[in-house]
């Protein structure tokens, strides 16, 4: 089977202006319709990698392309295909939830889908019901995160980039969000790139994972493959094993 490649990252490096070398020679590919998770501890370089793919910052070296479009050469084209959920996404506090969803939907409406369609779907994903009529500043952390997930997935982007989608959420809320993500991939064939430092969560969610540490890829593959290769019971154990292997 010849699958289309959604994301191609090749020899990626990122040195921040402050001099921090956050990503050191990262390479991986994501197939269309796949859920791919970057996992690794805090400071491993996950957010940096996602920001580059989302065209917010520029690679210092290496190539990244999204469905064949280079992020450096043509960021505007890339932005049309993606929808990005930052790690610490905020919403305009004085807008009502529904107003925010409509505002965001306005940027993504094209073809047959009107902003109202997208906003309506987002309202449904959010599961916030009546609370959508309240101002965002009255929302709890979990409600804000659900609002953000909803506005990210509702436009049916070709690639959704989710940075720690469930961070800071309780078990129930996290599960709901994981289910939504899975459902969206199945229903609309959206490619999903997410990051997490919760290795157990991605075991359940992703088709393939890339384990990164200090800006380098330690291992890559389906969760079951990695477990088999490392002889571990779960990804956490596998991670500890891999780190010992590289002598860190």
């Amino acid at each position: 089977m010849n699958k289309e490649t959604a994301v191609k990252v090749n020899g990626l490096h990122k040195i921040y202006p402050s001099g921090v070398h956050a990503v050191e020679g990262l390479s991986f590919n994501i197939d269309k319709g796949e859920i791919y998770a970057l996992i690794g501890p805090n400071g491993a370089g996950k957010t940096t990698t996602l920001r580059i793919i989302a065209t917010l910052i520029k690679p210092s070296n290496g190539k990244v392309n999204i469905f064949g479009v280079d992020v450096l050469d043509n960021p505007n084209e890339v932005r049309k295909m993606i929808s990005y959920l930052p790690e610490e996404a905020g919403a305009y506090r004085n807008l009502k939830g529904i107003e925010y969803l409509k505002f965001m939907a306005g940027f993504y409406s094209r073809g047959s889908r009107s902003p109202e369609d997208i906003a309506g779907e987002a309202a449904e994903i959010s599961g916030l019901g009546e609370r959508l009529l309240d101002k965002i500043k009255t929302y709890s952390k979990g409600m804000k995160r659900r609002l953000q997930i909803a506005r990210t997935l509702a436009p049916h982007p070709m690639l959704a980039i989710l940075d720690e989608p469930t961070s800071g959420l309780d078990v129930m809320a996290s599960m709901e969000i994981r289910d939504t993500i899975k459902k969206y991939r199945e229903k609309y064939g959206i490619t999903i790139l997410l990051s997490s430092h919760n290795m157990l969560e991605v075991e359940y969610l992703s088709d393939r994972v890339g384990i990164i540490f200090k800006g380098k890829l330690l291992a890559e593959g389906a969760p079951s493959d990695i477990l088999e290769r490392t002889g571990a019971h779960n990804l956490e154990e596998a991670f500890r094993f891999l780190i010992r292997e590289v002598g860190a």
Partner: protein
């Protein structure tokens, strides 16, 4: 006391941000240093022209009496030069301006007669103002004062008269000052009112530009602080349109602020003007001074000033990491506006060297103040030169903004501070 750790944290928190140190401490220090220089230069100009020994005056004696002769010899004794003219020139004020006289003093017939009857003797002083400035106003005031000063001598001579009037005792010499400026004539009291007015209205562009700059500077800071920026930057929309949208928002708000301010200023001038006793309310005076052409020029200068201030502030504000540090970056603009406003009101622009005039015209945000100042004597080419400079500067700033907005600086910052720290660390390691 438990409060000390809190105070310490507040101060440390503020001082750790180099932008706040730059915007709130270093810049005002530099700017007010400059302002001090400008002020003292302006004051020196004022003191210089106020010195009788620096004055050169022309006198026309129409009374031809001992009393008028006495006044003339008094003038000769205290001025650098007093020249006697035979006839009154057509426009004595402009005559003085064109021929390098501080003013023209006319002693009309009846001067001696009045004094001998114990009535105030009348003298008319014609002078000019090249522009509204402290130095120029001080020339008018001191020339009028100089001639009035003769009253003291007169008083001691005639006070023995039995039938002197109280008017006489109050001021034995009545001086009428007539000032020509921009082709119009004003009383010396009106001129003083105008000068006072200029000082109150240099605040107008100051406040408007200040508003604009605050709004524009914080617009990105808010997005950073509320973590809405990353989402905004990943949206499928042209980065330039973010700049345009944010600038238009700030400019619209600023124009509303301008309208509110103009209304307030109108009321202010009206009520303060009522107190000045300048012979006609300053508003009438303003109406007299400001032609439609100069009003249009002031408006254009103000609008371009607001646009420049907004874009400059947005550019500076982008480097703030949150609202607070963006605001302190905008403080740079405030300080600039303040220095430019006050400096220009103080200084006599028309006597500066050409290159100095260009420097001032090119100073960001000088155009509205310059237009306001020079409007009273007739807009000259420097206002338009200044507006042109501002347009060029605005284009440059907008270009820089479009570069910055499409770069990653918004997310990563410049990292300048970290670089400095790294260099320092490496150095200190070497030393050890």
């Amino acid at each position: 006391m438990m409060i000390w750790p809190l105070v310490k944290k507040e101060i440390l928190d503020l001082l750790r941000d180099p932008r706040i140190i730059l915007g709130m401490i270093i810049l005002p220090l530099v700017m007010f240093g400059v302002l001090g220089e400008v002020m003292s230069y302006g004051t020196q100009q004022a003191i210089y022209v106020a010195q009788p020994t620096n004055m050169r005056i022309a006198v026309i004696d129409e009374d031809h009496t001992n009393a008028s002769e006495d006044l003339i010899s008094y003038l000769k004794s205290i001025t650098r030069e007093t020249v006697i003219l035979r006839n009154i020139p057509n426009d004595p004020g402009s005559f003085a301006e064109d021929n390098g006289y501080t003013g023209v003093v006319v002693i009309p017939p009846g001067f001696d007669y009045n004094l001998s009857k114990g009535l105030p003797g009348r003298v008319i002083v014609y002078t000019y103002m090249e522009e509204v400035s402290i130095a120029e106003a001080s020339r008018v005031t001191s020339l009028v004062g100089l001639v009035s000063g003769y009253g003291g001598i007169v008083k001691s001579k005639f006070a023995s008269h039995v039938n002197v009037s109280t008017d006489f005792l109050n001021s034995p010499v009545w001086v009428t000052g007539i000032v020509s400026m921009g082709g119009k004539h004003y009383s010396s009291a009106q001129v003083n009112a105008l000068t006072g007015l200029l000082f109150s209205i240099v605040f107008a562009p100051l406040i408007v530009v200040g508003y604009a700059s605050q709004i524009a500077a914080t617009t990105m800071g808010v997005e950073k602080e509320e973590h809405t920026l990353e989402v905004l930057l990943s949206l499928p929309l042209n980065r330039q349109s973010i700049v345009v949208a944010k600038l238009s928002g700030s400019i619209v708000i600023s124009i509303l602020a301008t309208l509110g301010l103009s209304g307030g200023l109108y009321l202010y001038i009206d009520s303060v003007g009522g107190l000045s006793g300048a012979g006609g309310m300053p508003l009438d005076l303003m109406r007299n001074v400001l032609t439609p052409y100069s009003l249009a020029t002031i408006t254009i200068a103000l609008i371009i000033g607001v646009i420049l201030a907004t874009s400059l502030s947005m550019l500076l504000g982008i480097f703030g990491k949150d609202v607070r540090s963006s605001q302190s970056m905008a403080g740079i603009i405030w300080t600039l506006v303040f220095v430019v406003g006050y400096g220009l009101a103080m200084i006599q622009f028309s006597t500066l060297s050409n290159s100095m005039k260009y420097v001032i015209a090119a100073t960001p945000l000088a155009a509205p103040v310059l237009a306001l100042k020079l409007s009273m004597t007739g807009i000259n080419e420097y206002v338009w030169i200044s507006i042109l400079f501002h347009i060029v500067e605005t284009v440059l700033v907008l270009y820089a903004l479009s570069k910055v907005i499409s770069s990653e600086i918004l997310i990563t910052g410049l990292g300048l501070w970290d670089r400095v720290k790294r260099v320092r660390k490496i150095r200190s390691r070497r030393v050890r």
